[in-house]
């Protein structure tokens, strides 16, 4: 009897353990609720109808926003959930973009994929290639939604030949932040707009020549992003096939003229002593700038902490461009929301309602003022709240101007492929090759041309391996 009782207890424990193990793999309640929802209600405003019937659609939303951004996302989600009765959105923080994407891949295999997932700009092609998306343009078409409300650069970045594929959510660009007190003390005036490389270095020489000059003029991390952005600002392309916008790219072209000029500038800033060699970092540059060891920092518009944490006046200006070009504009960075096909039109439509809600002016204003990410639609500029906010925070105005004045078509009417940004499946892996190229120049003494050629060779292999999946 006693033995029987022990066995029973053990069995019970197993059942509990297995129940716990199974939970994350099991399909979320949303799917169950969704399949119950009658299909005919799906078509247009399905969500509201479903609510009338008392059916609630639960959506899983995976994102990669941590800290105060996570709080802000929760606030927006709560606002959506309160605004109607038919849909409940469940937002979960999944870690970094990489973590989120790996979780998504695992969920595709095991079940339990979310309805909406956030993934970063460079992953666009990979997201499309999963074949599991409902492209945003399809839903927009069905809904009669006009995509021209979005900022051109943002809309076109996330578009394919049919229209927007993902919905831009958190968008940022790089910006030049500078210590205005330090420049004033040195008697240096920052010129308006984007500087050429030699203008930038001349400015640095002036700053470093002053009494009490900081040890360095500028600081930036050796991440692939600044190379991409300054290349675009100089009108240079990254991939063939018009930056991968008119077909799958087969080669990188960043080792041509413009690329070499940009990379020589960036590595030169470090090797000539204008900037400290901080390696591949997003954070070590902040401490260098905030402790006034450098007068200028390249950073993302979303890094508002730079301004909040500084004990001096921080002003901003546009990123520089090469001597052999005119300012061409910036590529939008950040991440977008991707709608994963649940197989049920009502659920997809509910997810679209949520994405549409996030793009409304009220939510965009909350998001922009709270996070530093751009408002992704044009009409918020006219809002009084935004105008006051920009008047009080002129640095946001610079960031917005830099983006809004970026032309997405050239004078001859062709698309400005450089600022549309590169699109390629293995772009993240190729970005890493640029990070390595910095070290090839700074540690191994290669010339910028040699380092880029070497990176290009590896990058072309990456492209070939990726494209082989489509042969």
């Amino acid at each position: 009897m006693k033995r029987f009782a022990t066995t029973l207890t053990l069995l019970l424990i197993f059942m509990l353990v297995f129940a716990a193990c199974a939970a994350p793999v099991a399909a979320p309640e949303g799917d169950a609720a969704a399949t119950e929802a009658p299909a005919e209600e799906a078509a247009d405003a399905g969500a509201a109808d479903a609510a009338a019937d008392g059916d609630v659609i639960t959506l899983e939303f995976w994102h990669a926003m941590s800290g105060n951004l996570n709080d802000l996302v929760d606030e927006l989600v709560a606002r959506f959930n309160d605004s109607q009765d038919g849909i409940v959105v469940n937002a979960t923080y999944q870690g970094s973009y990489d973590d989120t994407y790996n979780a998504l891949l695992a969920a595709f295999d095991a079940g339990g994929a979310p309805n909406i997932v956030q993934n970063f700009d460079l992953a666009s092609q990979t997201m499309i290639d999963t074949g599991r998306l409902v492209p945003a343009w399809q839903l927009m078409e069905a809904d009669g939604y006009d995509a021209s409300v979005f900022v051109d650069a943002v809309r076109d970045y996330y578009s394919d030949e049919n229209g927007m594929v993902g919905m831009a959510f958190n968008s940022s660009t790089p910006l030049v932040y500078y210590n205005a007190d330090m420049l004033a003390a040195a008697g240096v005036e920052m010129p308006e707009g984007s500087m050429s490389f030699s203008e930038f270095k001349a400015l640095c020489d002036q700053i470093l020549a002053a009494d009490d000059a900081p040890p360095y003029c500028v600081t930036f991390g050796q991440v692939g992003w600044y190379f991409e952005e300054i290349l675009a600002n100089s009108g240079g392309l990254y991939f063939n096939e018009n930056n991968g916008r008119t077909g799958r790219p087969t080669e990188v072209v960043f080792n041509q003229e413009q690329g070499v000029e940009v990379f020589s500038f960036l590595t030169g800033l470090i090797s000539e002593g204008y900037a400290p060699n901080l390696g591949n970092t997003w954070t070590d540059t902040d401490s260098t700038f905030l402790t006034q060891q450098a007068a200028i920092i390249f950073d993302s518009t979303s890094d508002v902490s730079i301004i909040q944490n500084s004990e001096f006046q921080v002003d901003t200006t546009y990123i520089p461009h090469s001597d052999s070009s005119d300012r061409n504009g910036v590529v939008i960075g950040g991440a977008a929301l991707w709608l994963i096909d649940s197989g049920d039109e009502a659920v997809n439509n509910a997810a679209w309602q949520f994405m549409k809600f996030l793009a409304e002016p009220a939510q965009q204003i909350t998001w922009h003022t709270g996070s530093g990410y751009f408002p992704v639609r044009k009409d918020v500029q006219e809002s009084e709240e935004i105008q006051t906010f920009w008047a009080e925070n002129p640095n946001f105005q610079t960031a917005v101007d830099q983006l809004f004045t970026t032309p997405t078509t050239l004078d001859d009417g062709t698309p400005n492929y450089a600022v549309l940004g590169g699109r390629a499946g293995p772009f993240p892996a190729i970005r890493r090759l640029i990070v390595e190229a910095y070290s090839r120049v700074l540690n191994d003494g290669l010339s910028p041309q040699e380092a880029l050629d070497e990176a290009a060779e590896k990058a072309n292999d990456e492209l070939a391996n990726y494209n082989a999946f489509f042969e």
Partner: protein, 319 residues
């Protein structure tokens, strides 16, 4: 296991009643039921993944998940002919050589000091030395990142203050220079592993019977002779254990590298494990190639452990 064999041999003896046999089977089953949590856990998290990853290693797997291309041993061939991969092997070996002997040497020195000369301060010192162990590798990494910062870091600041260098610009660029980055990671890893090593070494030192020392004193042995002929030989089983554990730990080191250098500058701190992580999970995931790397690494670790047991174990004295 032995019980199972035993019960089968018993069942073969003449004419056990059906009821008794059922009882035997039931009791054997009950035994497996107790083992089940471990067995199921091992199967789910060790054995099944071992087979799955071998299958994956023979394929190229699309970064977008749903497509696979069988390539046979091409992943292995590519790796073994790739100079970057051999560079990772070299870096891993340098990393192991940099962390393991230093770590064990420091641990033994500290253990002996803590046992004898400064024994009266033991709880304070032991706490100080053990604290790094309970700090997560990510936190340790961030702390060292601050220390190593070439512009505002304390380490270079102190070295300049102490007169080793004229200015911060002359001091080592710990994390961004190829010449220093591996050393920086080795320092951080050794520091964090030290507490564990000291605790084990301390237990070993204190386990040595006082009578050996008393006897040697009677024979007129000095401090160094006692260290050489008593402490170290009797400590050898502990040292052997530390060697095995530390080699495995170093092969698997990840947290410090990830936080401090992300395998950079260039690939100067990309060890085999870090390379597996990067290829499998970062940016453009390539799980087939990562699985092949994991298999090669597994073979290496088995060979290393075999060498450890075959060669080093012969020099170990058990009391």
């Amino acid at each position: 296991m032995s019980q199972a064999t035993h019960s089968t041999s018993v069942t073969s003896t003449p004419a056990p009643s059906a009821a008794r046999r059922r009882k035997r089977i039931l009791s054997a089953l009950e035994g497996y039921l107790y083992l089940a949590p471990t067995l199921i856990g091992l199967a789910l998290f060790v054995y099944i993944p071992i087979f799955t990853s071998f299958r994956l290693s023979l394929n190229r797997i699309a970064p977008f998940g749903n497509r696979m291309r069988f390539v046979g041993f091409e992943n292995y061939v590519n790796l073994l002919t790739d100079s970057d991969y051999w560079n990772s092997v070299r870096i891993t070996l340098l990393f192991v050589l940099g962390t393991v002997p230093t770590g064990i040497f420091l641990a033994v020195v500290l253990a002996i000091l803590l046992s004898y000369p400064v024994a009266h301060l033991k709880s304070l010192h032991r706490t100080l030395i053990f604290v790094p162990v309970i700090i997560s590798s990510a936190v340790a990494g961030v702390l060292f990142r601050w220390l190593f910062h070439p512009v505002v870091g304390y380490l270079n600041f102190w070295m300049v203050q102490a007169g080793f260098f004229d200015s911060m610009k002359d001091a080592p660029n710990w994390l961004a220079s190829k010449n220093w980055a591996l050393l920086a990671v080795i320092i951080a890893t050794t520091w964090r592993q030290l507490g564990f090593n000291v605790i084990i070494a301390l237990a070993g030192v204190q386990n040595i019977d006082e009578t050996f020392y008393d006897a040697s004193k009677v024979d007129g042995a000095g401090t160094l002779q006692r260290l050489r002929h008593i402490t170290l030989p009797l400590l050898s089983p502990t040292l052997f254990f530390l060697l095995i554990i530390n080699v495995i730990y170093s092969f698997q080191a990840f947290g410090e590298i990830h936080v401090l250098t992300e395998g950079g500058p260039g690939r100067a701190t990309t060890t085999l494990v870090y390379s597996i992580f990067y290829d499998a999970f970062v940016g453009t995931p390539q799980r087939g190639i990562a699985s092949a790397q994991a298999y090669i690494l597994a073979v290496m670790v088995v060979v290393m452990s075999y060498i450890n047991f075959a060669v080093v174990n012969r020099r170990v004295h058990y009391q």
